[in-house]
């Protein structure tokens, strides 16, 4: 993937840490270069929309109706917009679980497992705390931290295997996801099962008093706000700190990083653990803001949709929220489309698939248009 402008920013800082603020013409250059990253995806979205409109016409449905329902079901009313934001909340966190390792050159797709185990760990820790009548805030903080630790450990394991044993992290993180879900099922159907709930194996409910509420004045839970904060924080970490720079150097050229004496192993494990912690936090919010208990419903596929979000956002933490909201809106309006247009549930998946394929194809367009090139012939690559 191409992170060229960010990399060049950072390298400039490293070369001259005391650099004076960039000159105005430099700013114009950067604007010109960066606008490429907005124009090409928007163009790709447009192409995907046209292809999807043709698909709808082919099956005898009106694309105009479709757009109207997406707007109404996903964004057009206060209810719809909050529906969209709430659905995007877990996607923002699970997308971060892909974006951070991507910066160090890893394709880590184990967010689902970390989400499930993080949520389960939080719910399991809650049982003794709640039985001991621990204060609500303290309990929630401990649950969140424990969920993030367990999630971080789970994806960190894939990172460690990559570094220490050369195991392909994509495969190992995917397989660990299934192991993680099985571990949760093992406990939820066994030692930690709430016996008063005979037909859906779950842990003990944490109870209304210990639930994380909504953001005041909205119907959106706090996971959305924490997702935004983490996106900003991880953007700063990955682009404005020596840790982030070292990670990106490692991702760009492993041998060069080793030759420079960078602690490659620690960087890989740290990035993986941060990723797992993000997914674990998503699991914590699924338990404390939605389900109220851990059970098989935690494995709802958020971790996998997060992969899509991260790729569409080009693994840029700042681009993740808008992409997650776009996808959240499509999913939120999917129900209305099913109900009103008599289309199957898979219709929205067709649109998502088209967007994904066209956006990935559009990657080949970067650097091909002179208009985005900075004046003065400075080559971006």
């Amino acid at each position: 993937m191409s992170n060229a402008p960010i990399a060049s920013d950072a390298s400039r800082e490293i070369v001259s840490p005391t650099a004076t603020p960039p000159a105005r013409s430099d700013f114009a250059d950067r604007l010109r270069a960066n606008s490429e990253y907005a124009v090409i995806p928007l163009f790709a979205l447009l192409i995907a929309a046209v292809l999807f409109a043709l698909f709808l016409l082919a099956i005898g449905k009106s694309p105009v109706d479709f757009v109207a329902y997406v707007w109404r079901g996903g964004f057009g009313t206060a209810f719809s917009l909050q529906n969209t934001l709430q659905r995007s909340a877990p996607l923002i966190l699970t997308a971060l679980a892909v974006a951070v390792p991507a910066r160090i050159g890893l394709i880590m797709i184990g967010g689902e497992g970390a989400l499930v185990l993080g949520g389960f760990a939080a719910a399991a820790l809650a049982i003794p705390l709640i039985n001991g009548h621990a204060p609500v805030t303290l309990t929630l903080i401990l649950m969140a931290v424990f969920g993030m630790l367990v999630g971080g450990f789970w994806v960190g394991l894939s990172g460690f295997l990559r570094y220490a044993r050369g195991v392909n992290e994509t495969i190992s993180s995917l397989l660990l996801t299934y192991i993680g879900i099985a571990i949760m099922n093992f406990f939820v159907e066994g030692a930690l099962r709430d016996l008063s709930n005979p037909n859906k194996p779950s842990t003990m409910p944490i109870g209304d008093a210990y639930m994380v509420g909504k953001i005041p004045g909205t119907q959106v839970h706090w996971g959305f706000a924490f997702g935004l904060i983490l996106c900003a924080a991880l953007y700063v970490l990955m682009t404005r700190t020596t840790f982030g720079f070292a990670a990106r150097v490692t991702g760009g050229n492993l041998r060069a990083a080793l030759a420079q004496g960078l602690p490659v192993g620690r960087l890989i494990v740290a990035c993986s653990a941060i990723a797992g912690a993000c997914a674990g936090l998503a699991g914590f919010f699924e338990v404390t803001a939605i389900q109220g208990r851990a059970n098989a419903s935690l494995a709802a596929g958020y971790g996998f949709t997060g992969i899509l979000v991260s790729f569409l956002a080009r693994h840029n933490p700042l681009a993740i929220p808008p992409v997650a909201i776009l996808l959240g809106g499509l999913v939120a309006s999917g129900g209305l489309i099913q109900r009103r247009m008599d289309l199957p549930d898979a219709t929205v998946l067709v649109l998502q698939g088209l967007i994904f394929v066209v956006l990935l194809t559009s990657e080949t367009l970067y650097g091909r248009f002179a208009i985005f090139r900075p004046a003065g012939g400075r080559d971006r690559t």
Binding site: A68, T77, P205, E286, A300, G301, G335, R339
Partner: protein, 371 residues
Amino acid sequence: MSEIGFSRRALLKSAAIGAAGMTLNLGGIRGALGAADLTVGVVYVGARDDFGWNQAHAVAIKSLKDVPGVKVVEEENVPETDAVSKSMESMINLDGAGLILATSFGYYLPFVVDLAKKYPDAQFRHAAPLWNKDKDPKNAGSYFGYLNQAHYVNGVAAGLSTKTNKIGFVAAKPIASVLSNINSVLLGARSVNPNATVQVIFTGDWSLPVREAEAANALVDAGCDVITCHVDGPKVVIETAEKRGAKTCGHNASQAPLAPKGFVTGAEYKWITIYKGYASDLAEGKTLSNFTAGGYEVDFVQNTPFGAGASEEGKKAALAAIDGLKAKKPIYVGPLKDNKGKVVIDKTYDNLDPFLDKMDYLLEGVGGSTT
């Protein structure tokens, strides 16, 4: 079944006087809703044509659509996360739904309960016996069919259609409702064939097609010549058994088309009885019942018409068993031992007795283990 009187006039009248608990159509965009008086929103956890649980509901919903004055909006493949909460809320807010039918087990807690508190003017009914009269809102409720009665009839027909006296059962998880179905198959078979046994294999989850096929094959290999199941979508089990030349009994919806040679009969829900009851109660301005449950005695379950695999005496005995169940003849005639020799059912229990809802054992005559 007793036909429920249903007139457009009654619906209009009740709308005019503003029936309690009924939210009128608040209008949708582009007049998509037409002139319906009651909008029913239905959410399914899977596809409507899954040959199983969801199809059983969808078939009933299809005939609910024919009731004048009722408009139905449906959504399939809705997971048991806040997605279902939002789907139901969207049906209320954007479609003006006055009655929500939540058809999957995991929809109830916390989603249906929370939403019922938030929307006191809408009615919510959930397809599992979970409503708690002390804790849960009055505009929520449960409906459920005692499918084990239809499985008992499966057992009767299978007990007289088997040659090896071995019936195979592919089950998802060892939870109460599944165990009750397995035990009912055994008791049905034993009622007509004292030598009959049931062999059960648990797959561990509701939808594991590969493991379900393996289990069906293993049961046929072990000498079972009638195969039945309790999994979300029985399609794989029925087709696998048919291919192996075994007879089959269905579950949830009609699988007769999948097994033209070996199909005996199947245990089916008859949700339409309940759905039509709700619609007519709302139309007449009556308060909906919060807890609606039953089996053959109230026409909430049925058996699939006999297939080519059913023997003549099996058919006759099964029809007699259905008459018995309609007259509330008990299935669990105690004392009964579990398959480890312990007396688990001390006396004869009524078919709807809550004692039986807590079942966590397999009866003597069933091969297999709950752990």
